[in-house]
Subunit: 298 residues, 2 copies
DNA sequence: ATGTTTATATAGTTTTAGACTATAAATAGG
DNA sequence: CCTATTTATAGTCTAAAACTATATAAACAT
């Protein structure tokens, strides 16, 4: 069984006919037929139920398909790494980020660049938990900074720091002069929150749930930036990670600490344990660990 | 670049000579030389510094070696999965069982066989929690009946019923005429319990622990059957799931209810969510659910 | 130095896996 | 019942990968 066979098999499954698969693969239909037949013979399993109308995958075929798909992703990743190496060009470090990590990641990258000058760095916005898992599994990113624990034995998830969530109040809000607020103060207020699937949404809604308060959600959106401008225009209150607003200067809104033990969350560094991590990736992980060992509270 | 080339390359690196690598791979040295040369040509990189004395890997070769090693591991995993699938045969249902489930599983299997006559059914004794997880992850079993909750995102654990644990007393025991006993009555008594790693052991020892009583463990063994015959011979007291003795006729021992809220446990049905579950497995799960929906208390 | 040993490279040949074309067989739909 | 569509089979060609024999290079011993 060579990679070619798996590639062919995957294409047949996805096209569900041999003829179209063959044309996509730029080989003749008989070649593809015999190739799949040989694969089945080698494995001793029937992978595809043939018919003249439309071929259907068997349950054994389904297992191979899912496994092979991942394996081919891995293969493509290795080929990509070698191509990059050949071009002598800069190697690459790609990191998936949550929005609130923007304040500290650049500081680490500054150090990192001193040691690895030619490395091109790709920063990707990651969304939900599934998205993080998919990105790591598919070799889209080497690392992810995430605020939900990933319960997957293939992925190592290291807690790096805890961060508070703070409320943002519009300029003229009645609570603007309090030095801090309680979560109960937010009851009934028009509330702005991330859309379904975004990681911060769950953290915030959980905190409300634990406190027995039902937020009056009026807006759902994708980015903190948008939420901030809605707050500035007096459309409601939102809750964001403290780190997101701590370092920003221009703020027409009021930042208020919330006195509630549920209003905090842990941020993790995650990576795929099974794949080869180049030295530059290990080096970046070490920098992150060092950074937060010195400053335990962030 | 096919799997073969990577395998060859890895062997050369690990042997650090072409000649020995070739003999390990059961090919001739010239074949191996040209194969590696072709790989280098395809990638456009020099992977190995040849010399007559001892070949050394280049910097680029090292990268490929580390990447390829991971990739080949992945490949071997997939091949292993397919071999296991083949050995399992196309229509087999394998279930991991705890001993106390023997009373009801056959009733369900009778129904199941009416619908799926040709399916071979394998019943496996499962042991500890790790054993269950491993068996489900490795395709050893489609399902497991277990009495511990499995906290693993990949595994779905459905509670199906609660069962009491009862004490078995020897024929001439002083407590034989009481209608029920308390857990304190068992203090100091010679006690028979499952060996380390068996699931029921933990349930029973936990119940004692919660009641602040230390059992005087005199025998550790693997099967309830053996425990029963030790009790019959007056060697001590044991505690077993009520369902294990409820339906057996010949009993030279006394079965006593224990009045203690800790002396019960939940039995679960567990399966791997990520794997493809054939229809016959889904059908079996449905039968189990139906069975216990009708009879909520077992 | 120079021959011996050891390892890799090259040349030429055979074998085999995978590609092709042409065509048969099967089946759904008009 | 014919037609269009799809997969399977047969026969052939090609290219990749195996082989054997031998050249070449370098290290080491005498």
């Amino acid at each position: 069984m060579e990679f070619r066979h798996l590639r062919y098999f995957i294409t047949v499954v996805e096209q569900s006919t041999f003829t179209t698969a063959a044309s996509i693969l730029h080989i003749s239909q008989p070649s593809l037929s015999t190739s799949i037949k040989n694969l089945e013979k080698e494995l001793g399993l029937i992978l595809i139920d043939r018919s003249t109308r439309e071929s259907r995958i068997t349950k054994e075929g389904k297992v191979l398909y899912l496994e092979a798909k991942k394996l081919i992703n891995h293969y493509e990743h290795v080929v990509g790494e070698m191509k990059r190496l050949k071009q002598q060009g800069p190697s690459e470090l790609s990191i998936g980020l949550i929005e609130s990590s923007k304040f500290w990641v650049p500081k680490i990258l500054a150090n990192f660049k001193q040691e690895y000058k030619d490395v091109r760095i790709r920063l990707l916005e990651v969304l939900g938990l599934q998205e993080v898992e998919r990105a790591l599994n598919n070799f889209d990113t080497h690392l992810a900074i995430t605020n939900q624990y990933i319960d997957n034995k293939e992925i190592e998830t290291i807690p790096i720091y805890d961060e508070k969530l703070v409320a943002l109040l519009p300029p003229m809000h009645p609570l603007k002069n309090k030095s801090y607020i309680n979560i109960n103060d937010l009851e009934g207020e028009a509330f702005i929150v991330c859309k379904e699937g975004f990681q911060t949404r769950e953290d915030i809604l959980n905190a409300f749930r634990k406190s027995g308060i039902k937020p009056n959600v009026q807006f759902e959106l994708e980015r903190f930036e948008t939420a901030c401008s809605l707050v500035e225009d007096g459309l409601g209150i939102t809750v964001v990670p403290e780190n997101y607003v701590k370092y920003s200067k221009k703020s027409a809104f009021h930042i208020k600490q919330i006195h509630d033990s549920n209003i905090s969350r842990t941020v993790y560094l995650a990576y795929d344990k099974n794949r080869y991590l180049p030295p530059l990736v290990l080096s970046f992980i070490a920098l992150v660990k060092d950074f937060f060992d010195d400053k335990p509270d962030h």
